[in-house]
Amino acid sequence: MNTPVKAQGSASPKYKIRGSAKSFGIPGFPNAEYTEDHLNGEHGEMIVRALKKKNAAAFAKLVEEVK
């Protein structure tokens, strides 16, 4: 299995998983596990958009947006 590519040259990560979990699943995305590499990687903005679109409330509980 491929692993998500971290964004090249990006500064600090924009998204952090709350608590100590390394990954999370979310309703509406069966069998999918998302890591901080997913959220801050090459396709991060697209993934975040999809997660918020499908389940914004759950996303906000699971992920912290770093200002």
């Binding site: 299995m1 491929n2 692993t3 998500p4 590519v5 509406g28 995305f29 069966p30 069998n31 999918a32 596990e33 998302y34 997913h38 090459e42 396709h43 697209m46 993934i47 958009r49 999809a50 997660l51 679109k53 499908k54």
Partner: protein, 183 residues
């Protein structure tokens, strides 16, 4: 150790058997002219990129009768080998919404992306496109609703079989498709 599939057919021992069947809740359609896929690897059968010029239309069928087949045939005269994928799905119930949804397939040439229960995104219709081939509407308990079959026409078969779409990994591909859905 978590089960994960390699890019080829070999699986890790922790995986067990691959589940058969399709996920009837995860099927998307788009006009063929609006979908562009990256080159398909000759060794893995995977395309790693997709661009959609319009929104993907998500379509949830009933679990009963949702299936896909692909029949390859060889033209006796020319020797050309072509494929005829057939996707069958049932919209349970007779009602206005099912009528409206089934009408959406008429007169369009589409690409279908469907998730298997083995977490693979299977794409059909890339080269010629699928159209609404047959629609059987019934009121009996055994055939209640609309049974649709999407397939190629005799004049315009697919020149290749299905392929797998995998953008980085399963989770990223799923997010990409949901992001591209109609709002």
């Amino acid at each position: 150790m978590a089960c994960s599939y390699t890019a080829t057919r070999a699986v890790l021992t922790a995986c067990g058997a691959t589940k058969s069947g399709l996920d009837e809740q995860k099927s998307w359609n788009i006009n063929r002219s609006d979908a562009t896929f990256g080159a398909i690897s000759a060794s893995t059968g995977i395309s790693a990129t997709a661009t959609f010029g319009s929104a993907l239309l998500p379509f949830a069928f009933d679990a009963r009768g949702f299936s896909m087949t692909d029949t390859m045939s060889t033209d006796a005269n020319t020797g050309a080998q072509t494929h005829k994928p057939v996707i069958s799905g049932r919209l349970i119930g007779l009602n206005g919404v099912n009528r409206a949804d089934s009408e959406k397939f008429k007169g369009v040439n589409i690409v279908n992306i469907t998730l298997t229960k083995g977490n693979k995104f299977i794409v059909n219709g890339r080269t010629a496109g699928l159209t609404l081939d047959t629609q059987e509407i019934g009121s009996g308990s055994e055939n209640l609703g609309h049974l649709l079959t999407l397939s190629t026409t005799e004049q315009s078969p697919e020149s290749e079989p299905y392929f797998e779409l995998l953008i980085t990994d399963y989770a990223t591909t799923l997010a990409a498709l949901i992001d591209a859905e109609t709002p």
